[in-house]
C-alpha cells in the first residue's frame, strides 16, 4: 500500500529545500523572540504586581513556567520527528530531532534550576522527591541519554534509529509530567494555563507570562532552525549545493 503525502512533505525531505526554507523563516523568529523576550523580561520583573503571598519571589514564574512548557513541547516535537524519520526513513526528520535535543535539555535544566531556587523561599527546601519534580528529572535523563545515543554509534544512521526509539519510548513520561500534579498529592501547584479554564491569576500576571511563553517558543524555533541548518551543512558537505554555498562564502 502506498500512502500519498502532500507535496510539502516531500519538499521537507530535501535537505537543500529545508535549508533554504528555514533560512527564510529564521530572521522572523529571531526578531519575534528578541521583542517578546525583551518585553516579557521587563514586564515580569518590573511592571507585574507582586504576589499577595509570595511577594516578589514569584517573579521566577516568568522564566520557570515557559521553560517547563518548552521542555515538554520540545520532547513531543522530537517524538514526531523521530517517528517520521523511522517510518519514512527521512534524514531531515532525524536531523531535526537531533538538533532539538540539546535545546530541550537546556530548557529542562532551566526549569529544574529555577524551580529549585523558587522552592527554597516558598516550600523551605531546594528539592523534594515530589512526582512533578521527579518526572522532570527523568525528562532530563532522557534528553541526556538521547544526546549520548546520537554519538554512541560510528554509523550515524544506527545512532539516529536508537535515539529515535528511545525518544518514542520516553514519550510515556510526558503525560506523567502533565498529570503528576493531579494523580499524586504534590507540593507543586497545578497547571498555570489550561485550555478549558480561566487562569487563577489576574491578567496583570498571566499576560506577561503569556508573552514570555510565546517568546520562548520563538527563541526555541530560532535555535532549532539554526542548529538544523548547520547540521544539514555538515551532513551534506559532499553535495553540490553545499559546495556551491561554501564557495560563495569564500
Amino acid at each position: 500500500m502506498k500512502i500519498n503525502m502532500p507535496r510539502w512533505f516531500y519538499q521537507l525531505a530535501s535537505p537543500k529545500w529545508s535549508y533554504d526554507f528555514m533560512g527564510i523563516l529564521l530572521p522572523w523568529f529571531a526578531t519575534a523572540a528578541l521583542l517578546l523576550l525583551g518585553v516579557g523580561f521587563v514586564w515580569g520583573l518590573v511592571f507585574a504586581p507582586p504576589d499577595y503571598q509570595q511577594g516578589n519571589s514569584y517573579r521566577i514564574i516568568f522564566i520557570h513556567v515557559p521553560s517547563a512548557i518548552l521542555a515538554q513541547s520540545c520532547f513531543m516535537l522530537m517524538a514526531v520527528a523521530s517517528g517520521i524519520g523511522l517510518v519514512w526513513k527521512m534524514k531531515v526528520a532525524h536531523i531535526v530531532a537531533k538538533s532539538a535535543a540539546p535545546i530541550g535539555a537546556s530548557m529542562t535544566i532551566i526549569a529544574l534550576a529555577t524551580g529549585a531556587i523558587w522552592g527554597k523561599p516558598t516550600w523551605g527546601a531546594w528539592w523534594v522527591w515530589d512526582a512533578r519534580l521527579t518526572s522532570m528529572l527523568i525528562l532530563l535523563f532522557l534528553y541526556v541519554g538521547i544526546i549520548a545515543l546520537y554519538s554512541a554509534f560510528s554509523n550515524k544512521s544506527s545512532g539516529e534509529q536508537a535515539a529515535a526509539i528511545l525518544t518514542l519510548v520516553g514519550l510515556v513520561n510526558i503525560p506523567i509530567i502533565k498529570y503528576s500534579v493531579e494523580w499524586w498529592n504534590t507540593l507543586h501547584q497545578p497547571a498555570t494555563f489550561t485550555l478549558t479554564k480561566k487562569p487563577a491569576m489576574p491578567p496583570e500576571m498571566w499576560l506577561p507570562l503569556l508573552v514570555m511563553v510565546l517568546g520562548y517558543y520563538c527563541f526555541f524555533a530560532f535555535l532549532l532552525m539554526a542548529r538544523t541548518r548547520l547540521e544539514l551543512l555538515e551532513r551534506e558537505n559532499k553535495s553540490s549545493w553545499v559546495i556551491a554555498l561554501i564557495n560563495e562564502k569564500i
Binding site: 511592571f47 507585574a48 516578589n56 519571589s57 522564566i63 529555577t114 535555535l223 548547520l230 561554501i246 564557495n247
Partner: protein
C-alpha cells in the same frame, strides 16, 4: 518604577533578591550558551570548509 518605589527596592526584590536574580542569571546564561555554541560550531564548519577548498585549489 513599576511596582517598586526605587531602584534599590527593585534590586532587593522584597528580600528575595538572591532567589530572583540567581534564577534570571542562570536562565540568561543558558540562553547565551545556546547562541554561543551555535555560533562557534558555525564558524568551525566554515573555517574547515575554507581550508579544504584552498587545499583542493593547490592540488589542482
Amino acid at each position: 518604577m513599576g511596582y517598586f518605589n526605587s531602584f534599590s527596592d527593585f534590586l532587593d526584590m522584597g528580600g528575595h533578591a538572591l532567589y530572583v536574580w540567581l534564577s534570571y542569571a542562570i536562565t540568561l546564561l543558558i540562553f547565551i550558551a545556546n547562541i554561543l555554541s551555535l555560533w562557534l560550531k558555525k564558524r568551525a564548519f566554515f573555517n574547515l570548509a575554507k581550508r579544504h577548498a584552498k587545499r583542493e585549489q593547490r592540488n589542482s
